[in-house]
Subunit: 312 residues, 2 copies
């Protein structure tokens, strides 16, 4: 199978309270594709400038990431600068330079249109819609978004939520979009828009899965002693989720079961944890399925408990 992603590729400048990194590979599509390529082939739709280092392209090609949908255009690659606070859960944007991204219109190559899995990373909802219309045959469509679009493009965001299968949102984004204080009430409101599943990302507390079939699942976070750089953790989470699903045979109705989705969310947390352990995509570069399996087994031990008990 293969996984189609559209999103940003960037050169980031990151400052944490402890370290700095300049012009490192960033962007949602970069993290997602690198993560998903641990499991399966990835088709990338994105744009970079003529300044984009060739080494990143070569790395991706070695990792079975097809770049025929990557536009390389005269000019500067999208660049983002951010500074993290002491708790690493909050950050300030220092600058955003759109570069060639300013005029980006995604074009899905003919060879990508049979990808059964589609991930719409957190770019403008209008661009996400353009991609959705160019890939009408995807078996599973997964949407990510960000605070900016909830306020700046609410109507387009609403339109696309109604047309996808799975939505990923942080807890704050659920509250902001639904205007519900209760995550359970907010989740119900979002599922009522036609989603099959909603995944609520809780950062260092793990993630919650809500299903239209009333599935509820709380996935434990993988405990990290130290977070080096949380940039891209949410995109890597999506890469683990869709990467794992690409290895699963869906049911005869073409749908993934709740148990498939639970495992997929656990994979998301695991890959997100690896992404936090270094700058840029470096925490994902050398991973093997055996590394993922080890954290999966640990998470089973860390979260399962005796399903039976009796009071004397």
């Amino acid at each position: 199978m293969s996984i189609l992603v559209v999103g940003s590729v960037a050169l980031d400048a990151i400052e944490t309270p402890f370290q700095k990194a300049d012009r490192v590979l960033g962007g949602a599509a970069s993290f997602f594709a690198t993560a998903a390529s641990l499991y399966d082939e990835v088709n990338m739709v994105a744009i970079v400038g003529s300044d984009f280092p060739r080494e990143h392209l070569e790395f991706w090609q070695r990792h079975h990431i097809d770049l025929s949908g990557l536009q390389i255009q005269e000019g500067k690659t999208f660049s983002w600068g951010g500074r993290y606070h002491l708790d690493m859960n909050h950050r300030d944007t220092l600058y955003t330079e759109l570069g060639v991204y300013a005029d980006f219109h995604p074009v899905v190559p003919e060879t990508y249109r049979q990808s059964p899995l589609l991930f719409l990373a957190n770019i403008q909802p209008s661009l996400q819609l353009e991609v959705l219309e160019q890939a009408p045959n995807a078996r599973l469509t997964v949407l990510d978004t960000m605070e900016l679009w909830i306020t700046a493009a609410r109507q387009e965001l609403t339109e696309i939520i109604k047309r996808v299968d799975v939505l990923l949102m942080s807890e704050e984004e659920v509250r902001q979009y639904t205007e519900q204080a209760s995550i359970l009430a907010g989740a119900r409101q979002l599922l009522d828009m036609g989603l099959k599943y909603l995944v609520v990302k809780l950062g260092s507390y793990g993630a919650l899965l809500f299903g239209a079939d009333a599935t509820y699942f709380s996935a434990p976070a993988y405990p990290l002693e130290e977070v080096i750089d949380p940039t891209g953790a949410g995109d890597a989470f999506a890469g683990g989720l869709l990467g794992y699903l690409s290895t699963v045979e869906p049911g005869s109705n073409g749908a993934y079961s709740a148990e498939d989705m639970k495992r997929a969310v656990v994979h998301g947390n695991i890959i997100g944890s690896f992404a936090c352990s270094d700058f840029s995509i470096n925490g994902l570069r050398e991973l093997s399925i055996a590394d993922i399996k080890q954290r999966y087994n640990e998470l089973v031990t860390y979260s399962h408990f005796d399903p039976h008990w009796n009071v004397r």
Copy 2:
């Protein structure tokens, strides 16, 4: 068996963004004892004034809570007023009237001294030490504390942490006491003081269990659509934890196993969730073991996932 608790009994004035309640039963010992009495007999050491409503004493007596350690003294019962913010995770203290609590010195009746389980609720560490010395035979000693004592009585708190088996702290309290940004590093520092177990309460995200034997366990929160009043949830959590342990036969070395402790933390989360569903102890008054069992079974479904997976 029986469970010995020392802590505050109060008459609270609570304001949430949606409702108010005045002079309702509060205090850590009240929540703990009511919660633990769902499982076993409870012995209470505390103090109230002559204004304390008789109905509360009668309720506790009907629920097998022994009150021979409850001092009733001429004067006013300890009273606390608090107002919750919109997110219900933060609150301001409006007033604290110590009343008869100002001169409280706990006295553990002779008949209580064989209680195998001891809970030291979040009163002054010096008073907790007085109780620990009057109950030297407890098989398991569990300590709770609060931010105030970390700053105002750090030395006494340190002394008592070194002498108990289990410590309960919120995530913020772990950071504050250990001055570690990483909860894992903070937990290790606390375990190195001689604890058998540390339980880190994460509020609506559940709880973490750390063991000196390297046990790590992430217990899911019971998902609540609506929180009416979170006051006492931490004390009710402790009541569920110790209440459940009182029904378990410890190993031949007199110690509870990591599996016992995991189940106990799950019980803590369940009882804490019931406490949040109404003002005062009202969410706990009419509970049965069947109610607890139902939420336990739900939490198994909500948090367990397939321990095996294979990549194609």
